[in-house]
């Protein structure tokens, strides 16, 4: 828990620093007509740096106040990773072959891998859901979903 707190605090510190640096490209003063464009980004970044600094220092020096509760309970990582990785995979696939095929693959893989559902169920859900949403969005609502850059596949629909 303590390590995670420090890591997160450092990440925020870095974020604050980046924003600080980027906001310095703008005018950060308080002009005649009130604050300039960079005023709020600058001081917000300063605030974030101070807060995340305080979080890190506190975690570092007052470490004893932490309980032994780990950031993730033992073995808790596994299901989280099992959900997150395929989901990211779907997004990556979407870029390549479009959302609908990517979703079909994602649904099928997930249902089989995690749920151990029967193939009939898997095929039904993983095909019907994307097809139904294709008609709903692309056809009726006229919101074209991403088709991906590999148009050999997306050109088919």
């Amino acid at each position: 828990m303590r390590k995670a707190d420090i890591a997160c605090g450092l990440a925020l510190l870095l974020l604050g620093g980046l924003v600080l640096w980027e906001s310095l490209k703008l005018k950060i003063g308080w002009g005649l007509n009130g604050p300039e464009g960079g005023f709020f980004p600058f001081w917000l970044a300063v605030g974030l740096v101070i807060c995340s600094g305080a979080i890190v220092l506190k975690a570092f020096f007052l470490g004893s106040s932490y309980t032994d509760r780990p950031f993730v309970r033992k073995g808790g990582w596994v299901p989280v990773v099992k959900v997150a990785v395929p989901a990211f995979g779907m997004v990556a696939l979407t870029e390549a072959i479009g959302l609908y095929p990517a979703a079909a693959i994602y649904l099928a893989v997930y249902m089989r891998w995690i749920g151990r559902h029967r193939w009939v169920t898997i095929l039904l859900v993983s095909i019907l859901l994307p097809v139904a949403s294709y008609f709903l969005f692309d056809k009726w609502f006229l919101i074209p979903m991403p088709k991906g850059y590999w148009t050999v596949i997306s050109g088919l629909y």
Binding site: V19, P41, L48, V83, A84, L99, I114
Partner: protein, 497 residues
Amino acid sequence: MEALGNLLMGFQIALSPYNLFIATVGIVLGTIIGVLPGLGGANGVAILLPITFVMPPTSAIILLSCIYWGALFGGAITSILFNIPGEPWSVATTFDGHPMAKQGRGGEALTAAFTSSFFGAAFAIILVTFFAPLIAEFSLKFGPPEFLGIQMLTFSAFVGLGGGSVPKTLASIFIGFIMAAVGLDIISGQLRLTFGTMELMRGFNFVVAVIGLFGIGEILLTVEEGLELKGIQVKVSWRTVVGTLRELCKYWRTFIRGAIIGTWMGIKPGGATPASFMSYGLAKKLSKNPEKFGNGAIEGVIAPETAAHAAGVSALLPMITLGIPGSPTAAVMLGGLMIWGLQPGPMLFKENPEFVWGLIASMYTGNVIGVLIVLLFVPFFAAILRLPFAILFPSIVYVCAIGAFAVNNSTTDIWYMMLFGIVGYVFKKLDYPIAPMVLALVLGDMAESALRQSLIMSQGSPAIFFASPISAALVTASALLVVWPFISPHLHRKRAV
């Protein structure tokens, strides 16, 4: 009593079988649109605008406004069941609605949400019917300084530094405001914090952020806790619905407070979301047992939903009376008016009374139809949670991805959604409060613009915030709310003595 006569005329139009049919279709479509995150009422209305070309204008506006009511109702469904706010103003509904669903009280939460929506709408509609011109006139008094006052009041009503780590709360507020600042700054006309990339030029969309922070983050938390294997046992029957309805009467104060806040805030653009937060914040601050909030308090569902729906109704008011949109959806409807050959604005009441009063009457019919339909379906909605998790979770992720994409037609937003999901998970684990960050993201932009516009108008003098009685009152009230936690214990002690 001219309004009554006009209203009767309106009812004659709205109650025609054709218009009733149109209204029902609109409600059903709208509910679907509201359920799908990212596909907000504005999209829904814009998408269906072409269909209305072949209709008489009054039926067309009835269809569109009913889609809007449907979306308002629907937004609560995913918030409660999956912690995914279908619409921005349903974010506050997740705080207690989702814990209720997790405890197996999903049916109760949905019933409370729908009833609250209906009450909020009815309250606002009655006000609109009889006082539309007066309210519109009052809303004209709100310039940038008053607008800033509202933002400040919302923020101080919702955010308290009470529980949790102060640096963490502040950090998350700062992050929210920083995200709000990304993109084009309308006051200076410059791009800010884009790091030279195209992707950041548009800024962070609120809907994308909340889908990730709340929806995806919640999925990750749930699987880690191992809850998923059990699934949620939900008792659902219409008896639950009736029972909840009876219980809701106890909370009349929360209902009325929420409705007033909503009606008032909805008049100004972008009012529904802040209204729901403000209503939730006040309900918590004024509650006898505030510790229940966040753990499935039914008032935590009533307060934001009443306010959001009341604001949704009164957001249509400036559109009709002034020709300015009070919400993105109203903006698209405004375009619709012009397409049908009507001129939005103050003359609409005089030139096209049958249109205006048909619309107002359809607000009554549409909301009655709407609440009946959604209440009827409560058991079905609640039963969705019975689906095996290996089907439910990937489907939710998929629907979220569609939603995140639909907001701006950009695949980058799907990546953001996933990243926000990780952030939401980590923050929740490390006790960084997420809600203040989200509120800062909503208000940041508007508040900064209002502040800078005011100061430009006064040439840099902060006295402008106290120049008008309205803004002075708002600024003072928000300052009082900030110090309230420090004062209230003393007051209680006095009373005890």
